[in-house]
Symmetry: C2
Subunit: 283 residues, 2 copies
């Protein structure tokens, strides 16, 4: 008898998601976590205001009908071995990382028992979500901090280890709202990673295995460096501007999909973008 394989599910949110109106994104998270049967754990490690921030999410998730919702607040690495917390995580169908400072999440949780327990639940099909700082920690290497509205240069971005739910990519949040193209490009070239996702506020990528769907109000800017013909990363000093030639750029709003393996955008009608043009020519 073979073990059942579970879908890997993530909801990675660019920050400032709607908590009062339609709650399109948080609704999708709760639905994926089991709907009214959802058992949700809110991880507040990123914030210094865990009660305030956590209770705000409790209200939304309960309003949407999730059956069990609780906060796990970890202030120290010691907290990250708490047996109550581990017990709660082992039953969770949805685990949600709040915003705050991404370096707090990794310095408190990375390689702890809680970290391992969350990864186990991820492998077992629980949906892992994060907003803002909670989004930043999703790849294996994350943007710890960096300058917005800046020309790309090595010095504008500090990278560090992330929690590794979505390896091999770079994620930035509050993307167009804070003018972070330079920062995303720098992270992408420094990593080096092939795909960079710049997620707008109140916008998310919902990941199911290799398929990504964009949901929410804004758009997701995807920079694909795989066909890029040149960058000067190996030649420049920290304060010199980066050059990158021939990267591919997609900007996708709600309902569009993107395949992580083929690196192709998929239109709302299911047609692969690279084939859309041929189709319209053929008609």
């Amino acid at each position: 008898m073979t073990e059942a394989t579970h879908k890997r599910q993530l909801v990675i949110i660019g920050g400032a998601e709607d908590k009062e109106g339609d709650c399109v994104i948080l609704r999708e998270f709760v639905r994926r976590a089991g709907g009214t049967k959802a058992n949700i754990v809110i991880m507040t490690a990123a914030t210094e205001l865990p009660r305030e921030v956590g209770e705000n999410y409790i209200r939304v998730f309960e309003r949407l009908g999730a059956e069990h919702v609780r906060i796990i607040d970890t202030e120290t690495r010691e907290d990250a071995r708490s047996s109550t917390a581990l017990e709660a995580i082992s039953k969770a169908t949805g685990i949600f990382f709040t915003g705050g400072d991404q370096a707090r999440i990794t310095s408190i949780l990375k390689d702890t028992e809680i970290d391992a327990a969350i990864h186990q639940r991820y492998a077992e099909g629980a949906v892992i979500a994060g907003t803002s700082a909670g989004a930043a920690v999703m790849p294996d290497k994350m943007i710890v901090e960096g300058d917005s509205q800046s020309t790309p240069k090595m010095e504008i971005v500090e990278m560090g280890p992330g929690l590794g739910f979505l390896p091999g990519v770079v994620i930035d949040q509050h993307f167009l709202q804070r003018g972070r193209l330079g920062r995303l490009i720098t992270a992408l070239v420094r990593e080096p990673a092939v795909l960079g996702f710049g997620i707008d506020e109140n916008t998310a990528i919902a990941v199911t295995d290799d398929q990504i769907e964009i949901i929410g109000e804004g758009s997701v800017t995807i920079v694909d460096e795989s066909d890029s013909t040149y960058n000067n990363a190996s030649e420049i000093l920290r304060d010199e501007p980066l050059a990158i030639c021939g990267a591919k750029l997609h900007i996708l709003p709600h309902g569009y999909k993107f395949n992580l393996k083929t690196r192709q955008a998929i239109l709302t009608n299911g047609v692969v973008a690279s084939e859309a043009m041929n189709q319209s020519v053929a008609v």
Copy 2:
């Protein structure tokens, strides 16, 4: 006897160019205009502070050694027929448009005698330069105004006619400093144009016929839509987010070149970027 053909020369500046230090960009403008023999006209139509802004440039250009420097201030379309102004333009080797509001430049100058005279000098080899609003007016269709730090949507950008020195492209300025990727993409799709140039502050593109060279402190973000496989411009309403798939992205700093015809980036060593990878693989 055939008429000599002159190079078409432009210096298009992303705003906030250095006027106190090395003056890399303004220096290049004066050099192209004839160096110490330059005869420079400063067009202050964009600004409501023509004296203040104009005299600032007089100081720089004189300090750099330009022989003749004068301001042409046009407040009305009537001013734009002034015979003194036309006389000055007919002798100018460099014509510089200051910053301010680009709609002032086109509403005062577009299709006037001064406009025609400047175009004639351009065809005769004089270098035309502009910074900020003065950069915006260079294409045939310009961004009149638009939202920065925004998801691309039709409603975020107002387009209008430019002065048409560099047709078929879209130009935005203060680019990464003000987070204008969404605005540039929207302009590009609305135009529709094939190439969008997002020019950083204290950065310029120096155009010689079809060749562009990047000069200055920051970088120029070039979006090439020619190979783009899809956009939803024909399907969406004004307040709905744009989608674009498979555009090409280059970010180029000082010393890099770009060819407007082949749409290829050229490295500082003269190698075409698309061939750089093959070369390094071959070694």
